[in-house]
Structure formats: structure tokens, C-alpha cells
């Protein structure tokens, strides 16, 4: 049986990759996909912990995260479409109207 730590490390690596995607990519869609990757990494860690503790609560949370992610993606992509309609761009560096 593979140790839980191994899964956690894998999950961490994927999470950090997702983080770098969020930080470094300029396309809003890619930023979004990176967020999804981070969520996936989290799910992996939750599943690993669930097995570790023999409790199904971890699975429940992973289930909820997947569902929320679906909702989030729908709303996020709708935002992107709306922004694209007005600005003809999805480059997040061009979206800084909130600058103080």
C-alpha cells in the first residue's frame, strides 16, 4: 500500500503547479484551468486522508468540491464571455479598471 504521504506530496506538487499557472499565465481561461487543477489536487489529498482515517467524510467533501467547482466554472466562464464581449480580450493584465 502506497503511503498517504506519497499521495499528499503528489497533491502538493499538482497544487503548486496550479498556483504557478494562476500567477504566471495571462489568459483568463488558463488561469481558470489552473484553478481547476488546484481543486483537483485538493481532492486527491482529501481522498488520501479519507482512506487514512477510514472515514467517508473526506469523500463527501471531495464530492462537494467537485460540485461547487462545476458551478464556479459555469459562472466564471460566463464572466469571461461577458468580459470578452465588451473588451474583445481575455488578457487579465488588461483588466485593471479597479486600480486605485
Amino acid at each position: 500500500m502506497v503511503q498517504t504521504e506519497a499521495y499528499l506530496m503528489l497533491s502538493m506538487v499538482l497544487f503548486v503547479l496550479g498556483t504557478m499557472g494562476v500567477l504566471l499565465r495571462r489568459s483568463a481561461i488558463l488561469v481558470f484551468m489552473s484553478v481547476e487543477l488546484m481543486l483537483n489536487a485538493t481532492n486527491l489529498a482529501l481522498a488520501a486522508f479519507a482512506r487514512q482515517w477510514g472515514s467517508e467524510n473526506g469523500h463527501m467533501f471531495a464530492f462537494f468540491i467537485i460540485t461547487v467547482a462545476a458551478a464556479e466554472v459555469a459562472v466564471g466562464l460566463a464572466l469571461i464571455v461577458a468580459i470578452f464581449r465588451t473588451k474583445r480580450s481575455i488578457n487579465i493584465d488588461e483588466l485593471h479598471q479597479l486600480e486605485g
Binding site: T19, V22, L23, V31, I92, D93, L95, H96, Q97, L98, E99, G100
Partner: protein, 792 residues
């Protein structure tokens, strides 16, 4: 029979309903219906009073009745005042008097007020007066009495000013007379209220007697033993106890355990009731035995002193309502009201409320010697002053008004010398013949007005208004010779006059004689100076009475008519004459309810001291005087002499010439007559003493204090200018400088800080994200530190 006492709430309820009906729908009803409603309410009340009488005379014990829906009236903390009614001989006597005389006057009013535009309102007021007067006499506590007291005052005000839109009589406006009566009565009410406050403070209750309490212990004990002895002559026994009055505890020892008749224990005294459960009078007697000190916070007074204070304040109240010196001035002016009102309210019933109150409180007055003396002086003084002024009046009702003042003085003097039953006796008989006289005078005025009406219609109609202004139907100088025009009125009036003058064997003779005999006995046996003063003063007043009454009869009915209106006067309708006849019969027979013992064997026919004996159940210090033949003969002789003198002076035809009294024409008597005619300048003295200083003070307060000092100086100068100065100070340096500076400074500071802080908000998503990541890393490292230490 047993339950008749429970009917007593009806006696108030029925007139109230009558008043409401007449007040709210009376305007739409025909006159006849209004009269029937009002009279029926009055007569039903009388029937209730008769039922109550039959209850008591059938041996019923005095009871306190709680009307339904009035369970508890005023309950605040320790104050618990119930709306309770007391059925005892005193209250039932007053009820019968009020409802009986009142019913007759209702019937009379239906004729007298015929055609008046406010007919329904008159009857509503009369019924309202009934309700309040019966509240006054039926109440079992001083507060209920006070409610009735104020209520009858209100009705009196409304009825004096009933013709507020007319100018009548000697030239004052009726509304002014009503106001005068109301205001003078307020002075008395101040006294009564103070007395009530003092009573409440002293005894913690206002109830006369509590349910189950026995008012007259001595009487109850006597009654029980009399019942046990089966047929023992109660009246003669009572005579003995009367001579032994003052030792009220005599019968208490034997009756202490109560005489058991049947299965129930019937208490004949109050020894089983704790002091704080007794009514005010029972408590007062206990307090007197204990020499109780009444605590007034910073000081305390012995109960005797407190009783003197209470009774003095009560006297002020009684002086207001019962028209005694110094507050009698309202009563003559109150004659501005319709004559039935004068008869009912201002002669027979309401004005006797003060006497009723004092008799009700006889326990207090009996113990307060100082007050008793003052009461005697006030009563005698009032009797003399009223009698003297009556000698010089022209107005037929005014003479009767001063006569009423004088007779009320008799009653009050009787209270002062401790003859409470005599006072009540005179109250009752006086109600009969004074109501009779007033109604008779009303009949005369009615006849005069109709005669005048006929005369002025016979003449040119254009002079009508002019005529009415000059002609005064109440002025006796315009009358004369009415004996033939109005025979029934004449005969009944004559009976009333003789009764008032105290001619044997009419009602006034017996009641007046009882007062005189009592004062003589009090002076003789108790060594009480008040008794002699009362005897002398009242004898003189009785002489005055006979004189002015015969003067009046002569001027009105004898001789020849002095005005064409008198020639055309005619007898009044039966609705007016029937009450006159009824009252005349009462005036003749009324005295026989209290015939003293040993007079011509009359006591064998009527029984001696019946009324006193009846009252003794509820009046602790009631006692009967024996017949004093000397006094009675003296008073009778005086009265006959005065009548002879008056008939000599006025009986000659054309004695009253050019509106001048025979006394005016004689040089020796002219100043006396003018003095009496000017009413002793009493109103003028009051005008000087009170009205002018009052007006001056009012003007001073208004002009100097309020306007010049308060308005011009304090408001304008001090407050206004000071306010302006402070406002200017606050506006310029404080508001503009300090507060605005602070506010603007805060604004500028915020602007400066936010100007720097806004640079953090770059608007670039990635900067926010990396800030977040930075935070995450820091948190994880902080969380990691203990793990590293553990691992190490």
C-alpha cells in the same frame, strides 16, 4: 321584605336612566312624554324609597349594599374605597324626603315649565339632580358623598342658569347667579375635601360603617333587650337613655356576648371587630377611648384636636352647601332659577346636604366641643341675619330665599347644640312647608305672568316689549288681593306660612319647639353657654320669621290689586295645585311624626318621639327633649304677636303706596328697613373685602409681575439677550472655528491617508493573487515551525 334593601342601587339607576333618555332623545319627544318619563323616574325612585322604609320599619337591620358591577371602586395600594350604599334610617329618611318632595315637584314642573323651549333639558337636569342627591345620601363613604355633593352642585349650577339667556329678577343675569353659586360652593368644597383628606389620614378609610358594624351600640343593645322583654315600651326607655347620654358604654357590658335570637349570634356591639376593620365613626370612638395620637409626620396631634379640625373643615363645607355665614350669599341669587328648582334644590333638599353631613358625622361633632360652639354661633347668626334681611325684601322668592337661609341656620344651630334628631326633624318639616311656599310663590308668579300676558295683549301689541321690561312678576308691590283670584294657592300658602311661623299644631311648631327645648335643656343641664345663645337667638329669629311671612301673605293675597296684572291673574292648572295640596297636607301633619311626650295626650295618639327613636338606629347621639311648655308657649306667643304686628302694619289697605313699605315711611324704622333691604350690604362688603383686592392683585400680577417683570425683563432682557449672546459665541468661534476645523481636519487627514493607501490597489489580478499566496506561505511556515521542533 328581607331583600328590599338590595333594591337601593335602583334608586340611583332609575333617575339616571330618566336623565339619559331625556337628555339624548328628549328633544325629539313631545312635552307630555318628557314629563311622563321624568316624573315616572322620580315616582319610581319614591317607590323604591318606600320599599326601603318598609324594610327598615319592619325591623330590618341597617345594611351596606354592594351594587352589581361596582365591586370595588378605587383600589390603589392600601386605598380601597368601595361603591357601597348604606340603608339605614338616616339615609332612608333623606331618600324618602328627596324622592317624595321631588316627585311632587316633578309633577308641578310639568305645569310650570309648560311651553319652555328647553323643557326636556329641565327634566333631564331634575332627574340628574335626583341621581346625584341620592348618591349623596345613599353612599356609605365620604367619597361617594362627595361625588353626590359635587354632582348636585353641578345640577344646581345648570338649573340656576337654566334661563341663562334671560334677564330676570332684580337685574342680575341668571348666568352670573349660577356662577356665583358655583364659585361660592367651591370655597365650601375646599373645606369638605380637606376634611375628607384628614379623615382618610386619621382612619385609613372613608367608610361610614363597615358591613356588619353596628352604628348605635346603645340602641342595638336596647333594642335587643326590648325584643327579649317582649313589648317593653321602647320610647320611654329611650327617654331614660337620652338623659344618660355621654356614657355610651352603659349597655355594652351586658350586650358584649350578643343576644342570640334563633340559631345565629346577633351582635349588639362591635367589640368583636378589630379597630382597623371599623368605619370612621367606630374607629373614632375607639381612638377616643385609647387617647390615640394621630401621626402627621413631623408632629402628632391627639385625636380630640384632629376631630376639632375635621369638624371645622366640615363646617366650611356645610356652610357652602347649606348657605351659612359667611357663604350664604349665593342662595338668594340662586332664586334666578325656575321656581320648582328653587323649591326642590334650594329649599328642600340640596341645601340640607350640609345638615345631613353633620348629622351623619354626629360622632365627630359630639366630641368636638369647640366646633359645636362655633357651629351654634354660625347657625344662630345665620338664622338672625337671614330673618332680618327677609324683613326688607320686595321680591316674593327672595323673601323665601332668606327665610330658607334663616331656617337652615336653625338646623345648623340644632346640630351645634347636639340636637341632631331635632335638626333632622326640622329638616324634614322645613322641606315640606318651604317646598310648599316656593311652589305657591311659583303659582303666584305663574298667575301674575299670565295676567300680565292677558293685559299686554289687551293693549297695543307695540308696547309689549317695553311692558315686559318694566314689569316684574315677582315684585310683591305689584300684587295684592290674589286671595280671590287664586283660592287654592292662597289656602295652601297660608298653611305653609303658619307652619313656617310655628303656629300650633302645624309641622313647624313641633320641629322648632324641639330645637328650642333642646337648646334650653342643654343650657340648663349641661351648663352649655351655646344653649342659651341658641335659645335667645333662635327665639328672635322665630319672631322675624312670623313677621316677614305674614308681611308677605298680606302683601300678596290681601288688600286690593296694586297692578293690573294682579287683577287679571287666575288660578294655576291642576298639575300645579295638586302638589300644593299634597304638600299642604304634609305641612299640617308632618309634625306629628315626632310629637314630644306629654302634650295634651297627643303622644297617646301618635306615639312620642317616634322620629327620634327611628333615627337613633343610625344617629348615635340622637336624643329627644321633653316638652317644655314654657318655651313652647313663649315661642307661640312671640309668633302670634309678630303676626299681629305685621297684619297691623300691612293689613291696612293702601299701606304699600308708591312702592314704599310702611316701615320706610316711619322715621324710626326707615334706616332699619333700608339696612335690611340692602341685605346688610353683605355683598358690598364682600366686594370690598375680596373682589377688589382680588382684582387689584390680578391686575398687579398681570401688569407688573407677568408683563413688566416676567415678559419685558426676564424674557426679553435676560433670556432673549443672553440667548443671543451665547448663540453668537457658539456660532462664530465654537462652531465655525473649532467644530468645523475638527471636521475639516478629519476629512483632510482621511484624504491624505487614502491617497497613500490607494496605491496598494493596483487593479491587476495577479498582484492580489500573489499577495494571497504570500499569506498562505507565511501561514504554512508558521504552522510548520512546531513540527520541525518536534521532529528535531
Amino acid at each position: 321584605m328581607e331583600n328590599y334593601a338590595q333594591l337601593v342601587p335602583l334608586i340611583i339607576l332609575i333617575p339616571s336612566i330618566g336623565a339619559f333618555i331625556n337628555l339624548f332623545v328628549g328633544a325629539r319627544l313631545p312635552e307630555r312624554a318628557v314629563a311622563i318619563i321624568g316624573s315616572t323616574a322620580a315616582i319610581l325612585s319614591f317607590v323604591v324609597a318606600l320599599l326601603l322604609y318598609s324594610y327598615l320599619s319592619g325591623g330590618g337591620a341597617p345594611v351596606v349594599v354592594n351594587p352589581p358591577f361596582f365591586d370595588g371602586w378605587i383600589r390603589v395600594a392600601e386605598i380601597d374605597i368601595s361603591w357601597q350604599m348604606r340603608v339605614d334610617t338616616l339615609s332612608v329618611t333623606m331618600m324618602m324626603l328627596v324622592t317624595g318632595v321631588g316627585s311632587l315637584i316633578h309633577i308641578y314642573s310639568a305645569g310650570y315649565m309648560h311651553g319652555d323651549p328647553r323643557f326636556h333639558r329641565f327634566f333631564a337636569y331634575l332627574n340628574m339632580f335626583f341621581a346625584f342627591m341620592l348618591t349623596l345620601v345613599a353612599g356609605n363613604n365620604f367619597l361617594m358623598m362627595f361625588v353626590g355633593w359635587e354632582g348636585v352642585g353641578l345640577c344646581s349650577f345648570l338649573l340656576i342658569g337654566f334661563w341663562f339667556d334671560k334677564t330676570r329678577g332684580v337685574g342680575w343675569r341668571n348666568s352670573l347667579a349660577a356662577r356665583k353659586a358655583f364659585i361660592v360652593n367651591r370655597v365650601g368644597d375646599f373645606g369638605l375635601m380637606t376634611a375628607i383628606f384628614l379623615i382618610f389620614w386619621t382612619f385609613g378609610t372613608l367608610d361610614f360603617y363597615r358591613p356588619g358594624e353596628i352604628a348605635n351600640v346603645e340602641y342595638a343593645a336596647h333594642h335587643a333587650s326590648a325584643a327579649a322583654d317582649d313589648g317593653h315600651a321602647a320610647a320611654s326607655d329611650h327617654g331614660e337613655s337620652a338623659s344618660a347620654h355621654g356614657e355610651s358604654a352603659v349597655g355594652a357590658e351586658e350586650g358584649a356576648h350578643g343576644a342570640s335570637t334563633g340559631s345565629e349570634v346577633v351582635y349588639t356591639n362591635n367589640d368583636h371587630i378589630p379597630t382597623n376593620q371599623l368605619g370612621v365613626f367606630g374607629q373614632a370612638e375607639r381612638f377616643l377611648e385609647e387617647h390615640h395620637q394621630v401621626d402627621f409626620g413631623p408632629f402628632s396631634l391627639p385625636i380630640e384636636t384632629v376631630l376639632v379640625l375635621i369638624t371645622l373643615f366640615m363646617l366650611i363645607g356645610a356652610a357652602g352647601k347649606s348657605a351659612q355665614i359667611p357663604l350664604f350669599v349665593w342662595l338668594p341669587d340662586a332664586m334666578a332659577g325656575p321656581t320648582p328648582v328653587s323649591a326642590l334644590i334650594h329649599a328642600a333638599t340640596m341645601v340640607t346636604a350640609g345638615v345631613y353631613m353633620m348629622v351623619r358625622s354626629n360622632v365627630f361633632f359630639y366630641e368636638a366641643d369647640l366646633t359645636s360652639l362655633i357651629v351654634t354661633l354660625v347657625g344662630v347668626g345665620t338664622a338672625l341675619v337671614g330673618g332680618f334681611i327677609a324683613l326688607g325684601q320686595w321680591d316674593i322668592k327672595r323673601v323665601l330665599a332668606y327665610s330658607t337661609v334663616s331656617q337652615l341656620g336653625f338646623m345648623v344651630a340644632a346640630v351645634g347644640i347636639g340636637a341632631y334628631s331635632a335638626a333632622m326633624f326640622h329638616l324634614v318639616t322645613h322641606a315640606f312647608f318651604k317646598a310648599l311656599l316656593f311652589l305657591g310663590s311659583g303659582s303666584v308668579i305663574h298667575g301674575m305672568e299670565h295676567g300680565h300676558h292677558a293685559v299686554s295683549h289687551g293693549h297695543d301689541d307695540h308696547h309689549d316689549a317695553h311692558h315686559q321690561e318694566e314689569f316684574d312678576p315677582q315684585d310683591m308691590r305689584n300684587m295684592g288681593g290674589l286671595r280671590h283670584k287664586m283660592p287654592i294657592t292662597y289656602i295652601t300658602y297660608l298653611i305653609g306660612t303658619l307652619a313656617l311661623a310655628g303656629i300650633f299644631p302645624l309641622a313647624g311648631f313641633w320641629s322648632k319647639d324641639e330645637i328650642l327645648a333642646d337648646s334650653w335643656l342643654v343650657g340648663l343641664f349641661d351648663n352649655n353657654i351655646g344653649g342659651y345663645i341658641a335659645l335667645g337667638g333662635l327665639l328672635l329669629a322665630a319672631g322675624f320669621t312670623a313677621f316677614y311671612m305674614w308681611r308677605q301673605v298680606t302683601m300678596v293675597f290681601y288688600g286690593s290689586p296694586r297692578h293690573e296684572a294682579a287683577e287679571h291673574a287666575h288660578e294655576s292648572p291642576p298639575t300645579m295645585t295638586i302638589p300644593l295640596i299634597a304638600l299642604a297636607i304634609l305641612s299640617i301633619a308632618g309634625g306629628f311624626i315626632n310629637v314630644p311626650s306629654g302634650v295634651l295626650g297627643l303622644d297617646g295618639i301618635f306615639g312620642a318621639h317616634r322620629f327620634t327613636d327611628w333615627l337613633a338606629q343610625s344617629v348615635v347621639h340622637a336624643h329627644a327633649a321633653d316638652f317644655q311648655a314654657l318655651i313652647a308657649l313663649g315661642a307661640l306667643g312671640l309668633a302670634v304677636g309678630a303676626i299681629f304686628l305685621a297684619s297691623n302694619l300691612y293689613g291696612r289697605d293702601r299701606a304699600v303706596v308708591n312702592h314704599r313699605d310702611p316701615l320706610q315711611t316711619m322715621a324710626t324704622t326707615a334706616p332699619i328697613f333700608s339696612f335690611a333691604n340692602a341685605r346688610l350690604y353683605w355683598d358690598e362688603i364682600y366686594n370690598r373685602l375680596f373682589e377688589r383686592p382680588f382684582n387689584w392683585l390680578g391686575k398687579f400680577l398681570a401688569d407688573v409681575i407677568d408683563w413688566r417683570f416676567w415678559h419685558d425683563y426676564v424674557h426679553d432682557q435676560v433670556i432673549g439677550k443672553g440667548f443671543n449672546t451665547i448663540a453668537r459665541l457658539l456660532a462664530n468661534p465654537v462652531d465655525l472655528g473649532l467644530i468645523d476645523g475638527v471636521v475639516n481636519g478629519i476629512g483632510a487627514l482621511t484624504k491624505w491617508v487614502s491617497g497613500g493607501a490607494r496605491r496598494i490597489q493596483t487593479g491587476y489580478v495577479r498582484t492580489y493573487a500573489i499577495t494571497l499566496l504570500f499569506g498562505v506561505v507565511v501561514v504554512i511556515i508558521v504552522l510548520m515551525l512546531p513540527l520541525i521542533n518536534n521532529g528535531g
